[in-house]
Amino acid sequence: MKRIVERIIESLFTVSGAISSIVIVLIIVFLFKEGFGLFSSPTVEKGYSLYINSRNQVSELNTFDITHIFDEKITNWSECGGADMLIKPFRFDEIFELFPEDDLEHNRELIPIRLSEIIAANPNIIAFLPQRFAPQNSEEVKELSIRNISISDFFGGKEWMPTSKPTPLFGVLPLILGTLLVSILAILIALPLGLGVAIYLSELASERMRKFMKPTIELLAGIPSVVYGFFGLVILVPIVQKGLNLSVGETAFTGSLILAIMALPTIITVAEDAMRNTPRTMREASLALGATNWQTIYRVIIPYSASGISAAAVLGIGRAIGETMAVLMVTGNAAVMPTSLFQSVRTIPATIAAELGETPAGSSHYQALFLLGCILFIITMIISITAEVISKKQHNKGL
């Protein structure tokens, strides 16, 4: 009996041993299942189609043309391969203004008929209508063929306008670049500073100072990101704006600053550990050869701990890329291709946090946000594996 119980408990251990792997697999399954649904979604909002008069010789329009037509930036059919006539965009709600006397809300079967009439009467029309009220078996009406969202639309697109109608635009390029810009800049700021403090702590500071500072800095690493975001919003944004005399304070640079401050404790701790792990004999050998302390530091200790330091940097980038709340609060979240440091950017995590709560489950916007999650997942995986490889190198050198 006892043996059986033991066996059961031991097999429980075995199962939970695999828990991390199971969770990762589950995350992959759920994220990718939801996310890749996007590529089987039509480019036009789900449940809707575009209809034109059948005398119009246009039979296909690309996504940007459709958007521009409804934004009235393209106003003539000749600009997209049709005859020379003005375009008349028509949205479904307009029908209630055209036929107020019919009380269409209650006579729904009338709607498709009315729609057919409208399209038949206007050869230059393009109508954006729900499929359930599609104008039926009318010779006069032609439905535009609509393709699905393609991978290149998603990864190559430069416009992120997820609720644009009739064609939402899911171009993630500005988001990916924004994320990378903010996090890499953050590390570029934090690494030299962190390294400096690490050198100070490991080589220069008195033992008492070090004993006090090290745990305190470690404590600061635990402050929640939303607190840093709050600090950034209240203090940093105005400082950046006034100090650099910018038109806006919510910029990529502000985001990098706050991320750098957040990453500092981690970088300091890891780099300091790596430096202190330099074997005593190497230090002494260098000093014995007549090198000064400073020469020893930058010729011996820093090269020796280089891989530890770079592991810290890589881990720092990984954390910065995934950081959500602080960035959401200070970068202004404008989804444009970044061209300068002092302009607003929108990062992937901020996009997910800001938009997911307001997106109905199952819509293509929802799927696009999950796909953003997949991208984030893959980026951080690559970074985590890189960091592991680097720190293994360090380990081998130590032997």
């Binding site: 958007t67 291709m337 997106t359």
Partner: protein
């Protein structure tokens, strides 16, 4: 070995303490309040959060037998939650869409609509901005990106920085329909997570312009006069002007509920229409329905 057993004992005591603490925490979590009370869940528009929050707060002091939960998420989410049955009241800053109504009816539900207040959208700029009146066409130009500098509007040579709400909010859509004539916003508009943050940004940014509910207008920003007749008359956003319908950018604020749940939500809806409820509406800077 004796030391080890001692250590084990202290450790065991520690463990017991931990367990006790855990149990206390769990009971705190699980048995906060056991008594059977009816709950009303409100979900949806972020614009209406302050209103619903305050109304819920006051209502619960009047009638403590009902608990009210208020969650944001945006108008679309509120209505979707109504469809899924995960909320009792959907607060919405725009009228329910035709296809949303269709979906509800397909699911055998019928949404009842109650307009509890009106909200005027004010256009706000930095207090130092000398441009203090704008036409609808100019606003359209600013937010769709064809006008990019204040000097084109008679102001200083300053880049215009338009701020918008998040893309799925009812305010974003209402502004698009009412002011932008259904055109899309300029690509890469600045967006802040909530209206409060927008006010703060506008008050700090010289070239900023944004649209916010009248309730949010603070002394730290300047509300501009708006004209919907190509510049013939300009009207300042105020409660009076919204009430006498001279201010053009006004929208109703709705509560939607499922007909079957009418009994549950009735006390709260009644409260909203009562004198006390409408007084709250006015206090918060919204426009009363009566």
């Amino acid at each position: 070995m004796k030391r080890t057993t001692e250590l084990r004992k202290t450790v065991a005591a520690k463990l017991q303490q931990c367990v006790v603490i855990a149990i206390v925490l769990i009971t705190l979590g699980a048995c906060g309040e056991k008594s059977e009370k009816s709950t009303i869940r409100i979900k949806g528009s972020d614009t209406m959060l302050p209103l619903s929050q305050k109304a819920a707060e006051k209502f619960m002091t009047v009638d403590s037998s009902i608990t009210i939960t208020v969650t944001g998420g945006g108008s679309g989410v509120g209505i979707a939650a109504l469809l899924e049955g995960t909320t009792d009241l959907a607060q919405s800053s725009r009228k329910i869409k035709f296809d949303e109504e269709q979906k509800l009816e397909d699911a055998g539900k019928h949404a009842v609509e109650a307009i509890v207040a009106y909200d005027a959208l004010a256009i706000v700029t930095h207090p130092s901005n000398i441009v203090n009146r704008l036409t609808r066409e100019q606003l359209e130009g600013i937010f769709t990106g064809t006008i990019t500098n204040w000097k084109e509007l008679g102001g200083d040579d300053l880049v215009i920085v338009p701020y918008a709400r998040e893309t799925s909010s009812g305010t974003y859509e209402f502004f698009k329909e009412s002011v932008l004539a259904n055109k899309n916003y300029v690509n890469g508009i600045m967006s802040m997570p909530a209206t409060g943050a927008i006010i703060q940004s506008v008050s700090q940014t010289k070239g900023a312009i944004a649209y916010v509910g009248l309730a949010y207008v603070a002394p730290s920003v300047q509300a501009v006069e708006v004209s919907y007749d190509s510049g013939a008359t300009f009207v300042a956003p105020s409660v009076e002007n919204a009430k006498n319908q001279s201010y053009p950018i006004v929208r109703p604020l709705f509560y939607y509920y499922e007909q079957g749940a009418a009994e549950t939500v009735k006390p709260f809806i009644d409260y909203m229409f009562s004198e006390a409820g409408q007084k709250l509406v006015a206090e918060l800077g919204y426009i009363t329905v009566k």
